[in-house]
């Protein structure tokens, strides 16, 4: 049991428990906070996998921007006060849990029966600072993956426009009615 393995098991337990707590919590704000814990633990996994830039982007974008947006909307809609309403079909929830376990069983079987149980080869000292660094990411992002990069900029523009259009008040309600002349 090397130290790496012990750290991995402890963090994996925390991640799974945080995800479970997110699902089972009644209060939506507690769910969002548990999801932030999950994202922070996954960010530590990225650091263990020699992906420092992705780890920082995960903390900044996922935990720092996306979850804050979620918390704003939860507090705007008062969703933390909504109780879990009763479903129309009583057998739906146990069946969903059962099918989820079947999915997990199939995935676990596929992984365990074919997956390699050897760790990835350790990186040399020069590679530890090079692999996963912003320099290497940028070298690839702006040459081979330039077109997807430009497309994502359009995607973000579309998302911004969409978010504004969806929440804008209609003009007819804002303008005063013009008196009709008979």
């Amino acid at each position: 049991m090397t130290l790496d393995l012990i750290i991995f098991l402890v963090l994996a337990t925390i991640a799974v428990l945080a995800a479970l707590a997110m699902l089972l919590s009644d209060n939506a704000i507690y769910s969002a906070l548990f999801l932030i814990v999950n994202f922070a633990v996954v960010s530590v996994f990225y650091l263990m996998l020699n992906a420092p830039f992705i780890a920082m982007v995960q903390v900044t974008v996922y935990a720092g921007a996306i979850m804050v947006l979620f918390l704003f909307v939860i507090m705007l809609l008062g969703a933390d006060k909504l109780r879990q309403p009763q479903t129309d079909i009583p057998w739906q929830q146990p069946l969903a849990i059962l099918l989820g376990l079947v999915l997990l069983g199939v995935a676990a079987f596929a992984i365990v029966s074919r997956g390699s149980v050897s760790a990835p080869s350790p990186l040399s000292d020069q590679m530890i600072s090079a692999f996963g660094s912003p320099f290497e990411l940028g070298k690839l992002l702006f040459t081979t993956y330039l077109f997807p990069f430009e497309v994502t900029s359009f995607l973000l523009l579309v998302a911004m426009i969409g978010a504004i259009v969806l929440t804008k008040e209609e003009k007819a309600k804002l303008l005063p009615r013009r008196p009709t002349k008979s």
């Binding site: 991995f8 996954v42 982007v57 992984i111 996963g132 978010a163």
Partner: protein, 108 residues
């Protein structure tokens, strides 16, 4: 060192929890957070494979492509969250409820 298949198994477990969340919960925001959990678990699988493909003394483009893809998935997730939450706010404005069971106007 931790074997790659351990990371992939953890990714599968988180993905299954996300799927269970989408199927079980009635609150639209919790459903959305479960979708984010699924995307996050896929990112973990990408980064684990990216690390596994890195062998040798030169940074292989195939290995870094895994991390580039995670970058793009995070961008798409951010855009999707913006539009999805705007949709939820718009639905709440007209129905004053974010229970997904109430949104059945198109039901035959």
């Amino acid at each position: 060192m931790v074997p790659t298949s351990y990371y992939i198994l953890l990714s599968a477990i988180l993905f299954t929890l996300g799927v269970a969340g989408v199927l079980i919960r009635r609150n639209a925001i919790i459903v959305f957070m479960s979708v984010e959990l699924m995307l996050n678990s896929a990112n973990l699988a990408f980064v684990a494979f990216a690390r596994a493909f890195q062998t040798g003394n030169a940074v292989s483009a195939a290995a870094m492509s895994g991390q580039i893809f995670v970058f793009f998935v995070m961008t798409v997730a951010a855009a999707e969250v913006a539009v999805g939450l705007a949709l939820i706010v718009a639905i709440f404005k007209s129905k004053h409820s974010i229970d997904v069971d109430q949104v059945h106007q198109l039901k035959g």
